[in-house]
């Protein structure tokens, strides 16, 4: 069966971006309905959201210092004293989104799933994407990218 982004998945990503507790319920429902495919779609959406937000945040290029500082800002934002957001994984994930594919290889998937929402939260906040209208516009940009990525995976 062709895997594609549906409105339910966009709603789940929206809940993730707005730190809405509904995210857990929505993603669990999609997992129950679609099985393993749901993970692929959510990963595609979250990955493209990070790709889009990161490249907009650093339109003229980036340095390792930019990455280090942004990950620290995410950890400060979430009061991450205990290191739940793994610094190395978060930095590697962000570098990957910015084009350094090697940096994102072999990263722990569970740690990435914690890092990505935190990174997105800071990136969107820094770009003033916080209201419903801005988030909807952002999601409208991300959705076709995720669809295209999923289509490529199924070739």
């Amino acid at each position: 069966m062709m895997t594609s982004v549906t409105d339910e998945y966009v709603a789940a990503l929206r809940a993730m971006l707005t730190r809405d507790e509904e995210y857990d319920r929505l993603s669990a429902n999609l997992q129950a309905r679609d099985g393993a495919r749901s993970g692929n779609v959510i990963s595609a959406l979250a990955g493209m959201a990070l790709f889009t937000a990161a490249r907009r945040r650093f339109p003229d290029g980036w340095t390792n210092a930019d990455v280090v500082r942004l990950v620290a800002q995410a950890r400060v934002r979430f009061g991450d004293v205990t290191g739940d957001i793994d610094t190395q994984v978060a930095e590697g994930t962000l570098r990957g989104a910015l084009g350094d594919a090697a940096a994102a290889e072999n990263l722990d998937k569970a740690a990435m799933s914690i890092a990505v929402p935190a990174l997105l939260s800071v990136l969107l906040d820094q770009q003033g994407i916080s209201g419903a209208t801005e988030i909807d516009a952002f999601l409208a940009d991300v959705r076709p990218l995720a669809d295209a990525w999923l289509a490529r995976q199924q070739l």
């Binding site: 500082r69 990950v71 620290a72 950890r75 004293v81």
Partner: protein, 151 residues
């Protein structure tokens, strides 16, 4: 075993950014196990003093995360060599009673010397200031040895 002038001179050269002199003095340093242990205690004492100075009254967890990131962002080498979580924990270990006993010696050593160098650099001490800082660190290290000898 009290800290010697030679050990203080080695650390001074490093903290003053005089790498050539640091390497020369370090090569000449007595490399016995006892001296290595004394030098490590001196570095630890200096790290503690530098952290206390830097974070006195403003050592929130967010401050510590931001400062470690600031140090790691100064060079790719620093970002690579400095374990952020270990650095944050060792700083908080000075400021609070956080237990850091599980951090291995190699990591502890790398964090201490990198963070110490950054902390002292940020203080922008002149020669007299650096001497005064090292005198306090030396006293702390010697206090540690005296307490240990008395226990």
């Amino acid at each position: 075993m009290p800290v010697t002038d030679d050990e203080v001179a080695v650390l001074r050269a490093q903290l003053a950014g005089d790498q050539a002199r640091h390497q020369e003095l370090y090569r000449r340093l007595d490399r016995s196990a006892a001296t290595r242990a004394t030098y490590t205690v001196l570095i630890t004492a200096a790290f503690i003093e530098a952290v206390e100075r830097r974070f006195a009254g403003k050592g929130t967890p967010a401050d510590v995360i931001s400062y470690v990131a600031d140090v790691r962002s100064r060079s790719d080498d620093a970002a690579e060599a400095l374990d952020a979580r270990a650095a944050e924990r060792l700083i908080r270990g000075v400021l609070t009673d956080e237990n850091t006993a599980d951090i291995d010696g190699k990591t502890r050593g790398a964090v201490s010397i990198i963070m110490l160098s950054a902390l002292v650099s940020d203080e922008q001490l002149d020669d007299a200031g650096l001497d005064a800082f090292l005198a306090v660190a030396r006293e702390k290290a010697n206090d540690y040895f005296m307490r240990r000898a008395g226990s």
